[in-house]
Every structure is written in C-alpha cells, then in structure tokens.
Symmetry: C3
Subunit: 132 residues, 3 copies
Amino acid sequence: MSPPESDHDQLRNLMQRYARAADGRDVDALRTLFHPDVTIDGARGELGLEPWLDSMRRAPAFPVSMHFLGDPLIEVNGDEANLDTYAVVYQVADRSSGQQDLTLGIRYVDLAVRADGGWRIRKRAARTVWTR
Amino acid sequence: MSPPESDHDQLRNLMQRYARAADGRDVDALRTLFHPDVTIDGARGELGLEPWLDSMRRAPAFPVSMHFLGDPLIEVNGDEANLDTYAVVYQVADRSSGQQDLTLGIRYVDLAVRADGGWRIRKRAARTVWTR
Amino acid sequence: MSPPESDHDQLRNLMQRYARAADGRDVDALRTLFHPDVTIDGARGELGLEPWLDSMRRAPAFPVSMHFLGDPLIEVNGDEANLDTYAVVYQVADRSSGQQDLTLGIRYVDLAVRADGGWRIRKRAARTVWTR
C-alpha cells in the first residue's frame, strides 16, 4: 500500500488537474476541482462556478491550449490553504486561418479548502501579468 | 540524518534528472533513469532502451537544449506510479549558421516502477502538443 | 493543526518566494531568503549579499518581469541541501518606448543551509543557458 499523499502533494495535483481539464475543455472534470460556492475573478470579472463553467463550455478561440504551471507557493493552515501559482498559458493558433498565437503570463492566487476527503478551490483570482 | 524522500519527491527528482541528462546528452545518466525493458513512444516511433539511447547519442540538431518541465501529475499505486508531465522544450539554434529556434510543447505520460531501491521509467509516451 | 512541511516542500517554497520577491523588486523580502554570508555568482560576477541587493534596488531595465521556475532537483544532506533549478525569466518590455522583450533560460545552482528554523540560500551560481 502507498502512504497517503501529503497536503502539499494533493494541492500540487489539484493545480495540475486544473491544467489538464482546462486544456481538454472538460467541464465535468473542472467542476470537481472547485467548491460549489467558489468565486473566480478573472478576465471576465467575478463569476460563480456555473457561469464560469458556461464560459469554458463555449467554443474556444484557439484550437489548442497548454496551461503550463510553475510550482505553487503553498501555505497550509489547517483545513485551508493559500496557493500562489505562476503560469504561462500557450494559446496556439490555427495559422492557416491567419490567426496568431497568444501567450499569457498569469498568476493564480487561490484559496483551497479541505472538503469531501480532498482539496477544492474555494476562491480564485487569476491575474494576467503579461501577454504577447 | 535526513528523513527519506517521499515517493512523490523521488518521482519529481526522476523527471528533473531526465531533463538534465537529456540536455547534457549524457547517455549513461539517461540509461540509469529507465527500466531495461522500457518502451519509449515518441517522434521516432516506439523504441526500446538501447535504440532510443543510440538516437540520443547522435549529433544533436541544435547546439543547446533546455527541457523545462512542469510539476508532474503523480498517482502512486504501490510499486507503480503514473506521471503526466507538461514540458516546454527549447531547442536553441545557432543563428550564425542561419538555423532557427524550435520550441515544443510536450506531454510526457510515464509509467514508473519501483526498482533497485528507486524509481525507473518503465513506459513512456511523449506526445508533441505544439511546435513553433 | 497542519503537519510540518517537509524539507523538500520548504525548499520549493524558498525558490518560489525568491521568484515573487525578485519580480516585486522587494529587497527586504529578498534579504530574508539568503544567509548573510551568501555569495551570488551571476551576470555581475560574484557578489556578497548587500552589494547584490543594491544591484536589485536600482531601477530595473524592464517594467515587468516573471521568474518562471521549474521544479528544483533537490538533494538534502542533513542541514545542507543542493538545489538545481531551471528557470525561464521573462523580462517584458515597454514596447511603446521601442524596447524589446528579453527572455532568458537560466539554471540556478544553489546550496541552502538550515538556519533560524528554516532554509536559506548560502551559495548561488546563476548560469544563463540561452537568451532571446
């Protein structure tokens, strides 16, 4: 049997699951990563979970994306954890249609809470640091 | 004395050792990271260890490379572990000879096994997600 | 109560704190990450802590930076630890003034020591692998 994952390891996996679900446009997988009462403050303003998932469900502007995340800076306080994660998001264009790539430097500032035997994101602020 | 590294920490180090051995074109260091019966499914099709190492031994197309790896998504099941790792590989050109840089977004999907007191890659699929 | 962070987790956080302090040009935060007798061998030669902090205090050449760090390769030996960290540093230009972006592939090779109940960088060599 394997020893249980540490909180830090679970939180790192939470972020990596987010990247894969976002790149796969997998709305059901995304839903499992967030607390139902999450608020997500990003490019479209502050949204609750279902409106934000709706925005992810829409046809993406780019055919391929890669959410490339750095190691999160993690601080665990009992059943809460603060995560601060640098990311470079590659939005890869379909050049044959004249589209151009978009690359974003993003900083995810998350509050996660222990819930249902795991961790979920309870509050997120996604700040775009640079775009090219 | 230091406490023993956790499985997650050992697996993260395994991936980082891969990056350094690949960038250093260090075939002997690469060999220690893989199980002798590994299959590596990548740009050149599915190869066993020695044919794959031969392909790494050949003169590289680019003078400098950097295998920049994200945090692996890790799942440990006893003596096996699944790793799913995003990477951006910078192949840095010698511009004086007219060569152009190549940057690849890659996803390494690995099965690692506990062997000889450590972890080794038993199966790898390297999928190129984008190139520029 | 949360279990104490492992040495590996503390060392990963040390590197992530470095990234945020460097990008925020926060000299006081930077000072807390280093041992007072650190030597930092980088683009400006080998410097002690205060001369190096002075160099960070000067007006930056670029308005925005992002020190995007990979997972460090970590080896802990009692009260010392070796870290080898790949990084891509985005120096984001003010294009309106004709400036151009600078991106650097850097490898931080650090010796950290246990001190004051945490870890601090005792010796750093920052090697630029590529620039674009």
